[in-house]
Structures are given as structure tokens and as C-alpha cells.
């Protein structure tokens, strides 16, 4: 079995990649994908610790996270499409009608 510490390192790496993606990328879809990566990092933790703690709660949580992530992605994509229809861009730097 893979030791927990390595799972933790992997999930933290995934979290960091996701956070960096959210902070540096300018394309709304890519940001959305980075957010999904953060959710998956959490999911890996849940599943791994469910195994090591011999406790099913983590797996149940994982199932809920997957479903919620799907619903969230659907709404997010719909918002992006509505925006694209009105503005012709999904670059978050150009989405700046409101400032200060």
C-alpha cells in the first residue's frame, strides 16, 4: 500500500497546481479546470484517509464532492457561455466593466 505521507504530498501538489492555475491563468475555462483540480486534491485525501483510518466517512464525502463538482461545473459553464454570447471573450482580464 502507498504510505499516507506520499498521498498527502501528491494531494498538496495538486492543490498547489490548482491554486496557481486560479491565480495566474486568464481563461475562465482554465480557471474552472484548476478549481476542479483543487476539489480532486481534497477527494484524494478523503479516499486515502478513509483507507488508512479504516473509516467509510471519507468515501461517502468523496461521492458527494464528485456530484457537487459536476453540478457546479454545469452552472459555471452556463455562466461562461452567457458571458461569451454578450462579450465575445472569456478572458477574465477583459471582463472589467465594473472597477472600484
Amino acid at each position: 500500500m502507498i504510505p499516507t505521507s506520499e498521498v498527502l504530498i501528491f494531494s498538496m501538489a495538486l492543490l498547489c497546481i490548482g491554486v496557481l492555475g486560479v491565480l495566474t491563468r486568464r481563461n475562465a475555462i482554465v480557471i474552472l479546470m484548476s478549481i476542479e483540480m483543487i476539489l480532486n486534491a481534497a477527494n484524494i485525501n478523503f479516499i486515502a484517509f478513509s483507507q488508512t483510518l479504516n473509516n467509510l466517512v471519507g468515501q461517502i464525502f468523496g461521492v458527494f464532492v464528485i456530484v457537487v463538482a459536476a453540478a457546479e461545473a454545469a452552472v459555471g459553464l452556463a455562466i461562461v457561455i452567457a458571458l461569451y454570447r454578450n462579450r465575445g471573450t472569456i478572458n477574465v482580464d477583459e471582463i472589467n466593466l465594473m472597477k472600484w
Partner: protein, 117 residues
């Protein structure tokens, strides 16, 4: 370490094989290109249009609906595995859940999200 030597040899041979075959083929084959030969191979049919063609936004709608309804099935696996133990409570809960999904399906249908125009 010694017992790993065969593996190392195997890896080297495996890596060399594609390189060698490609290089040898390149050297000895005749090279006479024409438009038909250069076109991408699509099961022997003539290819139509560009690869980066745009897909209709309708396709996106169907895809999103698919993702949602597909993922919701995840809740049915634990229920199906423990169907007997969960007994009536499990059945009623799942029936309620599916009922809500059906309502969502009805809504999408009435909204015209399933029609391909």
C-alpha cells in the same frame, strides 16, 4: 542490483526498437508524396472538413445534461450493493432521489433543452 540487469537490457531494447525501425524505414523506403497520400487516413473514406471544426452550442447543452445525470448515478451504486440491508428506507430514499431527477428531466424537456434544432 544485479537482478535488475535483465530489466535494464529489456528497457534499452524496447526503447531502441521503434527508433531503429523508423530510421531504417526512412532510409530504405522510396519517397514520392502526392496529395492523396498526404491526406489524413480516415478509415479509407475521404475526409470531410477541418479537424478544428466548431460544434453547435446545442451539443454543449446535451453534454452538460449528460454529465449531470450520469454523475448522479454514483449514488445508486452503494444502494445497489447493499440493497437487501438498506431495506425499505433505502428504497424510499432512492425512489425520492430518482423522483427529483425525473422532475429535473421533465423541466429540461419542457424547456426544450433536448431538442436538436
Amino acid at each position: 542490483m544485479e537482478q535488475y540487469l535483465p530489466i535494464l537490457i529489456f528497457v534499452l531494447v524496447a526503447a531502441a526498437f521503434p527508433v531503429v525501425t523508423l530510421v531504417v524505414a526512412r532510409v530504405i523506403r522510396p519517397h514520392k508524396p502526392d496529395p492523396v497520400k498526404l491526406s489524413s487516413y480516415e478509415c479509407g473514406l475521404e475526409s470531410v472538413g477541418e479537424v478544428r471544426d466548431r460544434t453547435s452550442v446545442r451539443y454543449y447543452l446535451i453534454a452538460v445534461l449528460f454529465v449531470i445525470f450520469d454523475v448522479e448515478v454514483i449514488f445508486m451504486f452503494p444502494w445497489a450493493v447493499r440493497f437487501k440491508q438498506l431495506a425499505l428506507l433505502g428504497f424510499v430514499s432512492m425512489a425520492t432521489f430518482l423522483g427529483i431527477l425525473l422532475l429535473g428531466y421533465y423541466y429540461a424537456w419542457r424547456k426544450g433543452a433536448l431538442e436538436w434544432v
